[in-house]
Subunit: 268 residues, 2 copies
């Protein structure tokens, strides 16, 4: 059982990292991140990629969290506060009653990450996904359908931003992730690692439903609106999702779910 | 061309309905709703279900909106304001620069709506979807994949709430919708109208990917967590989406996209 430390004063220096959560989200956290809610904190505690540094819980929630707390590293303190102190610390009503600060591990580069993957598997390659809801939704689907990794281009937002973690239900703490360098030739890299790249595009030449996946597929997704670059579209086979006339618009996270489901079903 | 009315004072009584948008969302709008952004307002103007009453636009956006404004009813005024006046009216920075107030048509009852549907088609039946993001996402998918209608149980939130409309990209203004009475036997109603009901559930007996749709399918979706009622699950064939071990959790809007894509692909 880790040490429990009671906090009565929102200005207590020991819970400095939990202060004014929303404002800090905006300035960045230098290697740290915030996990909110029991289910997400469970993912953090079970993550082989990232490490919990401390936890802050509402006193009334303590009993229901014993088994989770028991899995914390010995040196990770658990701060306990009354709900109103917790709210004052966070800067908003923290209904979930449990927060954790985690330390992110260094992201591997894409080459190292792909080298590590073994056997037939699928990866997602994201381009320009700047919305944290979409990023979280994509990671949730990646975990749900067992994608082996997610590669992010230089224009993607941070999947460990607080809201992205929350929307992902903690999946962004679990799915191996690498960031591509700006201008890095991801298609050459994928080929080098025996992944076949496929672009998703409303103008794709093959219907997703008619497409048979290969052994190791890299599925390329761009942001709604701009989509993938003309260069990528020219150099890859492209897939489209059949839609109704007059409203051919899908959310990119939903698209990732449809694509990953198709891959999963094809592997059955 | 409708009449243009310049607004210089945020307190002008003529734009009363646009004041303090977020606060009014909370108290309800008595038959009216708010559409935001050009794409969504286009859907409202083109909707056969609902009617635009007026529009409020940033002066600098006026030129780019001429063709949209030309499609407004003659008696619908267009209020034009400087960006800072617009922001003061709305109560937040209205980057989209265009708002419309619409009047909702009376929702048909479910029996009347199903009576109107002709030929083979699919409908969604939603139970307890209380989150506006999810509601909007489901409607977006319903429109993208051509679902004929969406039925809502008494515990579902309002698809014409401002955020639900925005997330749906206007789809909730286009897809025919009915609200079930509390306790109404939707399964009997569906059978009466020759729809076969199918439940989506993580504990479903048939894999969605292996399931062949019938001619007219009613796909039942419950909220994440509680899911569908035991009564509904007992009385319907149930489908599940294959997922990875250890993270069997999908967002309900993503689920609707996967299900509707499967139906669309099967009809090809």
């Amino acid at each position: 059982m880790p040490m429990l430390i009671e906090i009565h004063d929102p200005d207590d220096r020991r819970i400095e990292r939990y202060r004014d959560i929303r404002e800090r989200d905006l300035v960045g956290r230098a290697g740290l991140f915030v996990a909110e809610g029991k289910v997400v904190v469970e993912k953090l505690v079970g993550s082989s990629l990232h490490r919990p540094l401390s936890m802050l819980v509402a006193a009334k929630r303590l009993d229901g969290l014993r088994s989770l707390l028991a899995q914390l590293p010995e040196d990770a303190p658990v701060f306990v506060a009354a709900q109103q102190v917790l709210d004052a610390i966070a800067g908003f009503a923290m209904h979930r009653g449990i927060l954790a600060i985690g330390r992110r591990s260094d992201m591997p580069d894409a080459d190292a990450l792909l080298t590590r993957l073994r056997g037939d598997c699928d990866v997602l390659v994201l381009s320009g996904i700047a919305n944290h809801d979409n990023m979280g939704g994509i990671f949730r689907n990646a975990a749900a359908f067992g994608a082996a990794a997610v590669l992010l281009d230089a224009d993607c937002c941070d999947p460990l931003y607080r809201k992205a973690i929350r929307v992902s239900v903690g999946a962004s703490l679990l799915v191996p992730t690498a960031r591509l360098d700006r201008g890095e030739d991801v298609l050459a890299l994928l080929k080098h690692h025996s992944f076949e790249p496929f672009s998703l595009s409303p103008a794709g030449t093959t219907l997703l439903a008619n497409w048979r996946p290969t052994r190791s597929n890299a599925m390329l997704l761009g942001a709604e609106g701009p989509g993938l670059s003309p260069d990528v579209l020219r150099r890859t086979p492209s897939l489209r999702i059949a839609m109704a006339a007059g409203f051919d618009s899908l959310n990119v996270a939903t698209t990732s779910g449809i694509v990953l489901h198709h891959l999963t079903a094809a592997r059955e």
